[in-house]
Protein backbone atom coordinates (compact mmCIF):
# COMPACT_ATOMS: atom_id res chain seq x y z
CA UNK A 1 0.00 0.00 0.00
CA UNK A 2 2.67 2.48 1.07
CA UNK A 3 4.99 1.31 -1.66
CA UNK A 4 2.21 1.73 -4.23
CA UNK A 5 1.57 5.23 -3.00
CA UNK A 6 5.27 6.18 -3.09
CA UNK A 7 5.67 5.02 -6.64
CA UNK A 8 2.29 6.15 -7.99
CA UNK A 9 1.25 8.95 -5.66
CA UNK A 10 1.64 11.65 -8.25
CA UNK A 11 -0.20 9.77 -10.99
CA UNK A 12 -2.90 8.82 -8.51
CA UNK A 13 -3.47 12.44 -7.54
CA UNK A 14 -4.42 13.18 -11.13
CA UNK A 15 -6.85 10.26 -11.36
CA UNK A 16 -8.35 10.66 -7.91
CA UNK A 17 -10.83 13.56 -8.35
CA UNK A 18 -12.59 11.84 -11.24
CA UNK A 19 -12.48 8.46 -9.53
CA UNK A 20 -13.83 9.82 -6.25
CA UNK A 21 -16.75 11.51 -7.97
CA UNK A 22 -17.62 8.26 -9.71
CA UNK A 23 -17.39 6.31 -6.47
CA UNK A 24 -19.45 8.85 -4.54
CA UNK A 25 -22.19 9.21 -7.12
CA UNK A 26 -22.44 5.91 -8.90
CA UNK A 27 -20.66 3.03 -7.19
CA UNK A 28 -22.29 3.74 -3.82
CA UNK A 29 -25.63 4.25 -5.57
CA UNK A 30 -25.37 0.84 -7.18
CA UNK A 31 -24.65 -0.78 -3.82
CA UNK A 32 -27.56 1.04 -2.17
CA UNK A 33 -29.99 0.11 -4.95
CA UNK A 34 -28.97 -3.55 -4.70
CA UNK A 35 -29.65 -3.42 -0.95
CA UNK A 36 -33.01 -1.63 -1.37
CA UNK A 37 -34.20 -4.21 -3.87
CA UNK A 38 -34.38 -6.79 -1.05
CA UNK A 39 -36.40 -4.48 1.23
CA UNK A 40 -39.88 -2.97 1.42
CA UNK A 41 -38.58 0.59 1.84
CA UNK A 42 -41.31 3.20 1.36
CA UNK A 43 -39.42 6.34 2.29
CA UNK A 44 -40.96 6.61 5.77
CA UNK A 45 -40.50 3.49 7.86
CA UNK A 46 -37.08 1.86 8.15
CA UNK A 47 -36.45 -0.65 5.35
CA UNK A 48 -37.44 -4.23 6.24
CA UNK A 49 -35.77 -7.22 4.61
CA UNK A 50 -38.21 -9.05 2.32
CA UNK A 51 -35.86 -11.38 0.43
CA UNK A 52 -36.71 -11.99 -3.19
CA UNK A 53 -40.36 -11.00 -3.06
CA UNK A 54 -39.85 -7.77 -5.03
CA UNK A 55 -38.19 -9.78 -7.76
CA UNK A 56 -40.86 -12.48 -7.81
CA UNK A 57 -43.56 -9.81 -8.11
CA UNK A 58 -42.04 -8.60 -11.39
CA UNK A 59 -42.80 -11.95 -12.97
CA UNK A 60 -46.23 -12.41 -11.35
CA UNK A 61 -47.99 -9.05 -11.17
CA UNK A 62 -49.98 -8.25 -14.33
CA UNK A 63 -48.81 -4.60 -14.40
CA UNK A 64 -45.17 -5.59 -14.37
CA UNK A 65 -45.73 -8.32 -16.95
CA UNK A 66 -47.27 -5.73 -19.29
CA UNK A 67 -44.26 -3.55 -18.66
CA UNK A 68 -41.92 -6.43 -19.47
CA UNK A 69 -43.84 -7.19 -22.64
CA UNK A 70 -43.74 -3.53 -23.75
CA UNK A 71 -40.01 -3.39 -23.07
CA UNK A 72 -39.47 -6.42 -25.30
CA UNK A 73 -41.57 -4.80 -28.05
CA UNK A 74 -39.45 -1.65 -27.79
CA UNK A 75 -36.20 -3.61 -27.85
CA UNK A 76 -37.25 -5.71 -30.81
CA UNK A 77 -38.59 -2.75 -32.79
CA UNK A 78 -35.48 -0.67 -32.05
CA UNK A 79 -33.29 -3.46 -33.27
CA UNK A 80 -35.09 -3.64 -36.63
CA UNK A 81 -36.59 -0.26 -37.54
CA UNK A 82 -34.07 2.54 -36.85
CA UNK A 83 -31.22 0.28 -37.90
CA UNK A 84 -32.99 -0.87 -41.08
CA UNK A 85 -34.05 2.65 -42.06
CA UNK A 86 -30.58 3.99 -41.25
CA UNK A 87 -29.03 1.38 -43.51
CA UNK A 88 -31.55 2.06 -46.29
CA UNK A 89 -30.99 5.82 -46.16
CA UNK A 90 -27.21 5.47 -46.15
CA UNK A 91 -27.18 3.10 -49.13
CA UNK A 92 -29.55 5.32 -51.10
CA UNK A 93 -27.51 8.41 -50.24
CA UNK A 94 -24.10 6.94 -50.94
CA UNK A 95 -22.47 8.77 -53.88
CA UNK A 96 -25.68 10.71 -54.48
CA UNK A 97 -25.50 14.34 -55.59
CA UNK A 98 -27.10 16.57 -52.99
CA UNK A 99 -26.32 14.03 -50.27
CA UNK A 100 -25.67 16.80 -47.76
CA UNK A 101 -29.17 18.26 -47.82
CA UNK A 102 -30.87 14.90 -47.39
CA UNK A 103 -28.40 13.90 -44.70
CA UNK A 104 -29.21 17.03 -42.72
CA UNK A 105 -32.95 16.51 -43.02
CA UNK A 106 -32.76 12.94 -41.74
CA UNK A 107 -30.37 13.92 -38.98
CA UNK A 108 -32.32 16.97 -37.77
CA UNK A 109 -34.61 15.07 -35.33
CA UNK A 110 -31.57 13.60 -33.61
CA UNK A 111 -30.35 17.09 -32.77
CA UNK A 112 -33.52 17.53 -30.69
CA UNK A 113 -34.10 16.04 -27.27
CA UNK A 114 -36.39 13.06 -26.68
CA UNK A 115 -38.59 15.32 -24.56
CA UNK A 116 -39.08 17.68 -27.48
CA UNK A 117 -39.68 14.77 -29.86
CA UNK A 118 -42.33 13.46 -27.48
CA UNK A 119 -44.15 16.79 -27.35
CA UNK A 120 -44.03 17.06 -31.16
CA UNK A 121 -45.61 13.66 -31.64
CA UNK A 122 -48.31 14.21 -29.01
CA UNK A 123 -49.20 17.23 -31.11
CA UNK A 124 -49.17 15.18 -34.36
CA UNK A 125 -51.24 12.37 -32.87
CA UNK A 126 -53.86 14.79 -31.53
CA UNK A 127 -57.31 14.95 -33.15
CA UNK A 128 -56.47 17.86 -35.47
CA UNK A 129 -53.26 16.13 -36.53
CA UNK A 130 -52.89 12.82 -38.32
CA UNK A 131 -56.54 11.89 -37.82
CA UNK A 132 -57.69 15.14 -39.44
CA UNK A 133 -55.47 14.51 -42.47
CA UNK A 134 -56.75 10.94 -42.79
CA UNK A 135 -60.34 12.18 -42.76
CA UNK A 136 -59.48 14.83 -45.34
CA UNK A 137 -58.03 12.15 -47.60
CA UNK A 138 -61.16 10.02 -47.23
CA UNK A 139 -59.35 7.46 -45.10
CA UNK A 140 -61.62 7.93 -42.13
CA UNK A 141 -61.57 4.19 -41.47
CA UNK A 142 -57.91 4.49 -40.50
CA UNK A 143 -58.30 7.11 -37.80
CA UNK A 144 -57.36 5.79 -34.38
CA UNK A 145 -56.86 6.83 -30.78
CA UNK A 146 -53.15 6.68 -31.34
CA UNK A 147 -52.01 7.29 -27.78
CA UNK A 148 -54.88 6.07 -25.64
CA UNK A 149 -55.65 2.57 -26.89
CA UNK A 150 -53.18 -0.19 -26.01
CA UNK A 151 -51.25 -1.83 -27.53
CA UNK A 152 -51.41 0.72 -30.39
CA UNK A 153 -50.01 3.49 -28.13
CA UNK A 154 -46.71 1.65 -27.78
CA UNK A 155 -46.37 1.38 -31.54
CA UNK A 156 -47.29 5.05 -32.00
CA UNK A 157 -44.48 5.99 -29.64
CA UNK A 158 -42.11 3.69 -31.49
CA UNK A 159 -42.87 5.71 -34.63
CA UNK A 160 -41.73 8.85 -32.80
CA UNK A 161 -38.58 7.13 -31.61
CA UNK A 162 -37.76 5.81 -35.10
CA UNK A 163 -38.20 9.31 -36.49
CA UNK A 164 -35.70 10.57 -33.95
CA UNK A 165 -33.11 7.80 -33.98
CA UNK A 166 -32.73 6.88 -37.64
CA UNK A 167 -30.51 9.83 -38.55
CA UNK A 168 -27.62 8.93 -36.30
CA UNK A 169 -27.62 5.34 -37.53
CA UNK A 170 -27.59 6.63 -41.10
CA UNK A 171 -24.51 8.74 -40.31
CA UNK A 172 -22.73 5.74 -38.77
CA UNK A 173 -23.53 3.59 -41.80
CA UNK A 174 -22.34 6.33 -44.16
CA UNK A 175 -19.04 6.43 -42.27
CA UNK A 176 -18.84 2.65 -42.59
CA UNK A 177 -19.68 2.71 -46.29
CA UNK A 178 -17.04 5.37 -46.93
CA UNK A 179 -14.38 3.20 -45.34
CA UNK A 180 -15.09 0.09 -47.47
CA UNK A 181 -12.48 -0.92 -50.08
CA UNK A 182 -13.48 -0.29 -53.70
CA UNK A 183 -12.29 -3.52 -55.34
CA UNK A 184 -15.15 -5.87 -54.42
CA UNK A 185 -17.64 -3.36 -55.85
CA UNK A 186 -15.68 -3.07 -59.09
CA UNK A 187 -15.55 -6.85 -59.31
CA UNK A 188 -19.30 -7.05 -58.77
CA UNK A 189 -19.87 -4.45 -61.48
CA UNK A 190 -17.70 -6.38 -63.92
CA UNK A 191 -19.68 -9.51 -63.12
CA UNK A 192 -22.80 -7.57 -64.09
CA UNK A 193 -24.43 -7.60 -60.67
CA UNK A 194 -27.19 -5.01 -60.30
CA UNK A 195 -27.56 -2.64 -57.35
CA UNK A 196 -29.81 -4.85 -55.28
CA UNK A 197 -27.68 -7.93 -55.86
CA UNK A 198 -24.52 -5.97 -55.00
CA UNK A 199 -26.14 -4.74 -51.82
CA UNK A 200 -27.04 -8.21 -50.56
CA UNK A 201 -23.88 -10.04 -51.51
CA UNK A 202 -21.16 -7.38 -51.21
CA UNK A 203 -22.22 -4.32 -49.19
CA UNK A 204 -24.14 -6.00 -46.41
CA UNK A 205 -21.55 -8.66 -45.51
CA UNK A 206 -18.74 -6.12 -45.58
CA UNK A 207 -20.71 -3.72 -43.39
CA UNK A 208 -21.46 -6.33 -40.74
CA UNK A 209 -18.89 -5.08 -38.18
CA UNK A 210 -20.49 -1.65 -38.13
CA UNK A 211 -23.99 -3.14 -38.23
CA UNK A 212 -23.17 -5.00 -35.03
CA UNK A 213 -22.05 -1.78 -33.35
CA UNK A 214 -25.13 0.15 -34.51
CA UNK A 215 -27.48 -2.63 -33.40
CA UNK A 216 -25.68 -2.85 -30.06
CA UNK A 217 -26.09 0.86 -29.42
CA UNK A 218 -29.73 0.74 -30.46
CA UNK A 219 -30.30 -2.24 -28.17
CA UNK A 220 -28.66 -0.70 -25.12
CA UNK A 221 -30.66 2.50 -25.54
CA UNK A 222 -33.99 0.80 -26.16
CA UNK A 223 -33.88 -1.02 -22.82
CA UNK A 224 -33.76 2.27 -21.01
CA UNK A 225 -36.36 4.13 -23.05
CA UNK A 226 -38.05 6.59 -20.73
CA UNK A 227 -38.29 10.22 -21.87
CA UNK A 228 -40.51 9.69 -24.90
CA UNK A 229 -42.99 7.54 -22.98
CA UNK A 230 -43.09 9.83 -19.97
CA UNK A 231 -43.86 12.82 -22.16
CA UNK A 232 -46.32 11.11 -24.52
CA UNK A 233 -48.44 8.86 -22.29
CA UNK A 234 -46.76 8.78 -18.86
CA UNK A 235 -47.05 5.04 -19.27
CA UNK A 236 -50.83 5.16 -19.38
CA UNK A 237 -53.69 4.89 -19.77
CA UNK A 238 -53.92 2.55 -16.78
CA UNK A 239 -50.19 1.73 -16.97
CA UNK A 240 -50.72 0.04 -20.34
CA UNK A 241 -47.73 1.55 -22.13
CA UNK A 242 -45.10 1.42 -19.41
CA UNK A 243 -41.68 -0.06 -19.99
CA UNK A 244 -39.40 -1.21 -17.19
CA UNK A 245 -37.74 2.21 -16.92
CA UNK A 246 -41.12 3.95 -16.63
CA UNK A 247 -42.45 1.37 -14.17
CA UNK A 248 -39.35 1.87 -12.05
CA UNK A 249 -39.89 5.63 -11.99
CA UNK A 250 -43.59 5.36 -11.16
CA UNK A 251 -43.05 2.77 -8.43
CA UNK A 252 -40.30 4.88 -6.86
CA UNK A 253 -41.38 8.49 -7.22
CA UNK A 254 -45.16 8.31 -7.58
CA UNK A 255 -46.07 5.31 -5.40
CA UNK A 256 -42.99 5.42 -3.11
CA UNK A 257 -42.39 1.67 -3.48
CA UNK A 258 -38.63 2.24 -3.44
CA UNK A 259 -37.85 -1.44 -2.83
CA UNK A 260 -39.94 -2.55 -5.78
CA UNK A 261 -38.47 0.18 -7.96
CA UNK A 262 -34.96 -0.93 -7.01
CA UNK A 263 -35.72 -4.55 -7.93
CA UNK A 264 -36.95 -3.41 -11.34
CA UNK A 265 -33.74 -1.38 -11.83
CA UNK A 266 -31.71 -4.50 -11.10
CA UNK A 267 -33.68 -6.61 -13.57
CA UNK A 268 -33.24 -3.83 -16.12
CA UNK A 269 -29.50 -3.78 -15.43
CA UNK A 270 -29.09 -7.54 -15.71
CA UNK A 271 -31.13 -7.68 -18.92
CA UNK A 272 -29.36 -4.81 -20.61
CA UNK A 273 -25.89 -5.98 -19.61
CA UNK A 274 -26.59 -9.57 -20.60
CA UNK A 275 -28.02 -8.71 -23.99
CA UNK A 276 -25.43 -6.10 -24.80
CA UNK A 277 -22.55 -8.26 -23.68
CA UNK A 278 -21.36 -8.92 -27.19
CA UNK A 279 -21.24 -5.21 -27.78
CA UNK A 280 -19.47 -4.36 -24.53
CA UNK A 281 -16.96 -7.11 -25.16
CA UNK A 282 -15.96 -5.35 -28.33
CA UNK A 283 -15.36 -2.03 -26.59
CA UNK A 284 -13.72 -3.04 -23.31
CA UNK A 285 -12.12 -6.45 -23.32
CA UNK A 286 -10.22 -5.83 -26.51
CA UNK A 287 -8.25 -3.11 -24.79
CA UNK A 288 -7.49 -4.95 -21.59
Amino acid sequence: MIAYWKKNGEALLYALPAALLIIAFFITSIAYTIYLSFTDYNGLAAPKWVGLSNYLAIFQDATYLTSLKNTLIWVFASLILPVGFGLLFSVLLQNLKGQRIFKNIFYLPYAMSLTVVGVIWVFLFSQTGINYMLTLLGLEAFTRDWLTSPPLNTFSMIVASVWQGTGTNMLLFLIGLGALPKEPFEAAAIDGANRIRTFWSVTLPMLSPITIVVMGMSLVNSFKIFDIIWVMTMGGPYRSSETLAVTMFRESFVLFHFGQGAAISIVLTIASIAVSWFYLRKTIIKEG
Binding site: I22, I27, F89, I120, F123, T128, L268
Partner: protein, 275 residues
Amino acid sequence: MKRLGQWIIYIIIGLLAILWALPVILVLMNASKSLTDFSQGNIWAFPTTFQLGKNIMEAIRMGGLGSGLLSSFSYGVLGAGIAIILSAMAAFGIVILRLKGGFYWFLLIYSGTIFPFQMYLVPLFKGYQELGLYDTFVGMLLFYTAIAIPFCVFLLRNYMAALPYEIVEAAQLDGFRSFEIFIRIIGPYLLPPISVLFLFQFTWIWNDLVFGMTLTRSETIRPIMAGLATMQGIYFRSGVTTLLAGIVLTSLPTVLLFFALQRNFIKGMQHSVKS
Protein backbone atom coordinates in the same frame (compact mmCIF):
# COMPACT_ATOMS: atom_id res chain seq x y z
CA MET B 1 -31.05 2.53 -67.63
CA LYS B 2 -28.58 3.98 -65.15
CA ARG B 3 -30.23 7.39 -65.49
CA LEU B 4 -33.61 5.86 -64.71
CA GLY B 5 -32.18 4.17 -61.62
CA GLN B 6 -30.85 7.53 -60.40
CA TRP B 7 -34.26 9.14 -60.83
CA ILE B 8 -36.00 6.38 -58.92
CA ILE B 9 -33.56 6.85 -56.06
CA TYR B 10 -34.17 10.60 -56.05
CA ILE B 11 -37.91 10.06 -55.94
CA ILE B 12 -37.71 7.55 -53.06
CA ILE B 13 -35.27 9.61 -51.01
CA GLY B 14 -37.21 12.80 -51.80
CA LEU B 15 -40.46 11.33 -50.50
CA LEU B 16 -38.74 10.03 -47.39
CA ALA B 17 -37.15 13.43 -46.82
CA ILE B 18 -40.54 15.16 -47.05
CA LEU B 19 -41.96 12.66 -44.58
CA TRP B 20 -39.05 13.28 -42.21
CA ALA B 21 -39.20 17.05 -42.49
CA LEU B 22 -42.98 17.26 -42.14
CA PRO B 23 -43.17 17.18 -38.32
CA VAL B 24 -40.63 20.00 -38.07
CA ILE B 25 -42.43 22.05 -40.72
CA LEU B 26 -45.74 21.57 -38.92
CA VAL B 27 -44.20 22.65 -35.62
CA LEU B 28 -42.75 25.79 -37.19
CA MET B 29 -46.05 26.58 -38.95
CA ASN B 30 -48.12 26.22 -35.81
CA ALA B 31 -45.63 27.87 -33.51
CA SER B 32 -46.11 30.96 -35.66
CA LYS B 33 -49.90 31.09 -35.36
CA SER B 34 -51.87 33.15 -32.92
CA LEU B 35 -54.01 31.07 -30.61
CA THR B 36 -57.25 32.08 -32.38
CA ASP B 37 -55.70 31.30 -35.73
CA PHE B 38 -54.74 27.89 -34.39
CA SER B 39 -58.05 27.02 -32.78
CA GLN B 40 -60.09 28.07 -35.81
CA GLY B 41 -58.14 25.86 -38.18
CA ASN B 42 -56.22 22.62 -37.94
CA ILE B 43 -52.51 21.87 -37.71
CA TRP B 44 -52.22 21.45 -41.50
CA ALA B 45 -53.57 24.90 -42.38
CA PHE B 46 -51.08 27.60 -43.29
CA PRO B 47 -50.75 30.34 -40.68
CA THR B 48 -52.65 33.54 -41.43
CA THR B 49 -50.79 35.28 -38.63
CA PHE B 50 -47.06 35.29 -38.08
CA GLN B 51 -45.99 35.76 -34.49
CA LEU B 52 -43.27 33.23 -33.71
CA GLY B 53 -41.29 35.85 -31.80
CA LYS B 54 -44.27 36.85 -29.69
CA ASN B 55 -45.07 33.20 -28.92
CA ILE B 56 -41.47 32.55 -27.91
CA MET B 57 -41.54 35.53 -25.55
CA GLU B 58 -44.78 34.19 -24.14
CA ALA B 59 -43.17 30.79 -23.53
CA ILE B 60 -40.26 32.44 -21.75
CA ARG B 61 -42.45 34.59 -19.52
CA MET B 62 -45.62 32.59 -18.92
CA GLY B 63 -44.26 29.10 -19.40
CA GLY B 64 -41.34 29.77 -17.09
CA LEU B 65 -38.84 28.54 -19.65
CA GLY B 66 -36.61 31.56 -19.16
CA SER B 67 -35.00 30.43 -15.92
CA GLY B 68 -34.81 26.85 -17.21
CA LEU B 69 -32.83 28.06 -20.21
CA LEU B 70 -30.43 29.95 -18.00
CA SER B 71 -29.98 27.04 -15.55
CA SER B 72 -29.44 24.45 -18.25
CA PHE B 73 -27.01 26.68 -20.07
CA SER B 74 -24.95 27.04 -16.88
CA TYR B 75 -25.17 23.31 -16.08
CA GLY B 76 -24.14 22.48 -19.65
CA VAL B 77 -21.17 24.83 -19.93
CA LEU B 78 -19.83 24.38 -16.40
CA GLY B 79 -20.66 20.68 -16.07
CA ALA B 80 -19.11 19.72 -19.39
CA GLY B 81 -16.13 22.01 -18.77
CA ILE B 82 -15.28 20.72 -15.29
CA ALA B 83 -15.87 17.11 -16.34
CA ILE B 84 -13.46 17.50 -19.25
CA ILE B 85 -10.74 18.99 -17.03
CA LEU B 86 -11.08 16.26 -14.39
CA SER B 87 -11.21 13.57 -17.08
CA ALA B 88 -8.16 14.90 -18.88
CA MET B 89 -6.30 14.82 -15.56
CA ALA B 90 -7.42 11.25 -14.89
CA ALA B 91 -6.45 10.11 -18.37
CA PHE B 92 -3.10 11.90 -17.97
CA GLY B 93 -2.39 10.09 -14.72
CA ILE B 94 -3.40 6.73 -16.14
CA VAL B 95 -1.78 6.93 -19.57
CA ILE B 96 1.05 9.45 -19.47
CA LEU B 97 2.22 9.04 -15.87
CA ARG B 98 1.68 5.27 -16.21
CA LEU B 99 -0.33 4.77 -13.05
CA LYS B 100 0.17 1.18 -11.91
CA GLY B 101 -3.07 -0.76 -12.27
CA GLY B 102 -4.30 2.14 -14.39
CA PHE B 103 -6.57 -0.12 -16.41
CA TYR B 104 -8.54 -0.98 -13.25
CA TRP B 105 -8.86 2.67 -12.35
CA PHE B 106 -10.12 3.24 -15.86
CA LEU B 107 -12.64 0.39 -15.53
CA LEU B 108 -13.84 1.84 -12.24
CA ILE B 109 -14.50 5.20 -13.87
CA TYR B 110 -15.90 3.73 -17.07
CA SER B 111 -18.33 1.51 -15.14
CA GLY B 112 -20.45 4.64 -14.79
CA THR B 113 -21.64 4.20 -18.38
CA ILE B 114 -22.50 0.51 -18.14
CA PHE B 115 -25.40 0.71 -15.70
CA PRO B 116 -28.84 2.06 -16.60
CA PHE B 117 -29.53 5.42 -14.96
CA GLN B 118 -32.43 3.89 -13.05
CA MET B 119 -29.82 2.41 -10.72
CA TYR B 120 -28.82 5.90 -9.56
CA LEU B 121 -32.15 7.70 -9.24
CA VAL B 122 -33.36 6.67 -5.78
CA PRO B 123 -29.97 6.73 -4.00
CA LEU B 124 -29.18 10.15 -5.42
CA PHE B 125 -32.63 11.46 -4.52
CA LYS B 126 -32.28 10.16 -0.96
CA GLY B 127 -28.64 11.17 -0.60
CA TYR B 128 -29.32 14.64 -1.96
CA GLN B 129 -32.12 15.12 0.56
CA GLU B 130 -29.85 14.02 3.41
CA LEU B 131 -27.00 16.28 2.35
CA GLY B 132 -29.11 19.31 1.53
CA LEU B 133 -28.17 19.12 -2.15
CA TYR B 134 -31.72 18.41 -3.30
CA ASP B 135 -33.08 21.22 -5.46
CA THR B 136 -29.84 23.24 -5.42
CA PHE B 137 -27.71 24.61 -8.23
CA VAL B 138 -24.53 23.06 -6.81
CA GLY B 139 -26.21 19.68 -6.49
CA MET B 140 -27.29 19.64 -10.12
CA LEU B 141 -23.90 20.88 -11.31
CA LEU B 142 -22.07 18.20 -9.32
CA PHE B 143 -24.30 15.49 -10.72
CA TYR B 144 -23.96 16.63 -14.34
CA THR B 145 -20.19 16.83 -13.91
CA ALA B 146 -20.03 13.31 -12.50
CA ILE B 147 -22.25 11.76 -15.16
CA ALA B 148 -20.17 13.30 -17.97
CA ILE B 149 -16.86 11.96 -16.67
CA PRO B 150 -16.89 8.28 -17.77
CA PHE B 151 -17.27 8.95 -21.47
CA CYS B 152 -14.74 11.81 -21.36
CA VAL B 153 -12.16 9.59 -19.69
CA PHE B 154 -12.90 6.84 -22.20
CA LEU B 155 -12.25 9.08 -25.19
CA LEU B 156 -9.32 11.04 -23.76
CA ARG B 157 -7.59 7.88 -22.58
CA ASN B 158 -7.77 6.42 -26.10
CA TYR B 159 -6.56 9.70 -27.51
CA MET B 160 -3.59 10.04 -25.16
CA ALA B 161 -2.57 6.43 -25.68
CA ALA B 162 -2.17 7.21 -29.37
CA LEU B 163 0.15 10.19 -28.78
CA PRO B 164 3.86 9.54 -29.34
CA TYR B 165 5.36 8.93 -25.89
CA GLU B 166 8.73 10.40 -26.92
CA ILE B 167 7.40 13.93 -26.49
CA VAL B 168 6.77 13.16 -22.83
CA GLU B 169 10.18 11.59 -22.35
CA ALA B 170 11.84 14.57 -24.02
CA ALA B 171 9.98 16.96 -21.74
CA GLN B 172 10.98 14.92 -18.67
CA LEU B 173 14.63 15.10 -19.74
CA ASP B 174 14.24 18.85 -20.06
CA GLY B 175 13.19 18.92 -16.42
CA PHE B 176 9.49 19.65 -16.91
CA ARG B 177 7.35 18.77 -13.95
CA SER B 178 4.24 16.68 -14.45
CA PHE B 179 1.89 19.63 -14.24
CA GLU B 180 3.85 21.51 -16.87
CA ILE B 181 3.80 18.46 -19.13
CA PHE B 182 0.03 18.23 -18.66
CA ILE B 183 -0.63 21.88 -19.46
CA ARG B 184 2.06 22.72 -22.00
CA ILE B 185 2.93 19.49 -23.79
CA ILE B 186 -0.19 17.32 -23.74
CA GLY B 187 -2.82 20.05 -23.42
CA PRO B 188 -2.48 21.52 -26.91
CA TYR B 189 -2.91 18.07 -28.47
CA LEU B 190 -6.22 17.62 -26.72
CA LEU B 191 -8.11 20.49 -28.31
CA PRO B 192 -9.80 18.43 -31.09
CA PRO B 193 -11.21 15.70 -28.81
CA ILE B 194 -12.13 18.28 -26.19
CA SER B 195 -14.28 20.23 -28.62
CA VAL B 196 -16.08 17.03 -29.58
CA LEU B 197 -16.56 16.06 -25.94
CA PHE B 198 -17.83 19.47 -25.04
CA LEU B 199 -20.42 19.21 -27.78
CA PHE B 200 -21.56 15.75 -26.73
CA GLN B 201 -21.71 16.50 -23.03
CA PHE B 202 -23.33 19.90 -23.35
CA THR B 203 -26.01 18.32 -25.54
CA TRP B 204 -26.52 15.46 -23.08
CA ILE B 205 -26.92 17.82 -20.13
CA TRP B 206 -29.19 20.14 -22.09
CA ASN B 207 -31.42 17.23 -23.11
CA ASP B 208 -31.59 15.47 -19.73
CA LEU B 209 -35.11 14.96 -18.43
CA VAL B 210 -35.16 12.29 -15.76
CA PHE B 211 -32.50 13.59 -13.38
CA GLY B 212 -33.88 17.09 -13.67
CA MET B 213 -37.29 15.75 -12.66
CA THR B 214 -35.87 13.68 -9.81
CA LEU B 215 -33.39 16.04 -8.20
CA THR B 216 -35.16 19.40 -8.46
CA ARG B 217 -38.50 20.93 -7.62
CA SER B 218 -38.36 24.71 -7.93
CA GLU B 219 -38.58 26.61 -11.19
CA THR B 220 -35.29 28.46 -10.69
CA ILE B 221 -33.23 25.28 -10.32
CA ARG B 222 -35.12 23.00 -12.68
CA PRO B 223 -33.31 22.34 -15.98
CA ILE B 224 -34.98 23.15 -19.25
CA MET B 225 -36.33 19.75 -20.37
CA ALA B 226 -37.95 19.04 -17.02
CA GLY B 227 -39.48 22.52 -17.25
CA LEU B 228 -40.76 21.80 -20.74
CA ALA B 229 -42.33 18.53 -19.60
CA THR B 230 -44.10 20.37 -16.79
CA MET B 231 -45.23 23.06 -19.20
CA GLN B 232 -46.60 20.44 -21.61
CA GLY B 233 -49.02 19.17 -19.00
CA ILE B 234 -50.40 22.65 -18.42
CA TYR B 235 -50.26 24.13 -21.89
CA PHE B 236 -51.33 21.34 -24.18
CA ARG B 237 -54.99 22.24 -23.96
CA SER B 238 -54.90 25.97 -23.45
CA GLY B 239 -51.82 27.21 -25.25
CA VAL B 240 -50.49 24.84 -27.88
CA THR B 241 -48.91 27.62 -29.91
CA THR B 242 -46.92 28.80 -26.88
CA LEU B 243 -45.85 25.23 -26.16
CA LEU B 244 -44.68 24.75 -29.75
CA ALA B 245 -42.79 28.03 -29.64
CA GLY B 246 -41.16 26.68 -26.47
CA ILE B 247 -40.09 23.61 -28.42
CA VAL B 248 -38.50 25.74 -31.13
CA LEU B 249 -36.70 27.79 -28.51
CA THR B 250 -35.35 24.85 -26.49
CA SER B 251 -34.21 22.95 -29.58
CA LEU B 252 -32.42 25.90 -31.11
CA PRO B 253 -29.14 25.66 -29.12
CA THR B 254 -28.51 21.95 -29.79
CA VAL B 255 -29.64 22.12 -33.41
CA LEU B 256 -27.43 25.16 -34.10
CA LEU B 257 -24.50 23.60 -32.23
CA PHE B 258 -24.82 20.48 -34.30
CA PHE B 259 -25.00 22.18 -37.67
CA ALA B 260 -22.24 24.66 -36.83
CA LEU B 261 -19.90 21.91 -35.68
CA GLN B 262 -21.14 19.06 -37.84
CA ARG B 263 -17.63 18.03 -38.91
CA ASN B 264 -16.47 17.60 -35.32
CA PHE B 265 -19.59 15.64 -34.48
CA ILE B 266 -18.99 13.15 -37.27
CA LYS B 267 -15.32 12.93 -36.38
CA GLY B 268 -16.29 12.20 -32.79
CA MET B 269 -18.61 9.47 -33.92
CA GLN B 270 -15.90 7.94 -36.08
CA HIS B 271 -13.64 8.04 -33.09
CA SER B 272 -16.05 6.34 -30.74
CA VAL B 273 -17.03 3.73 -33.34
CA LYS B 274 -13.42 2.88 -34.08
CA SER B 275 -12.64 2.40 -30.43
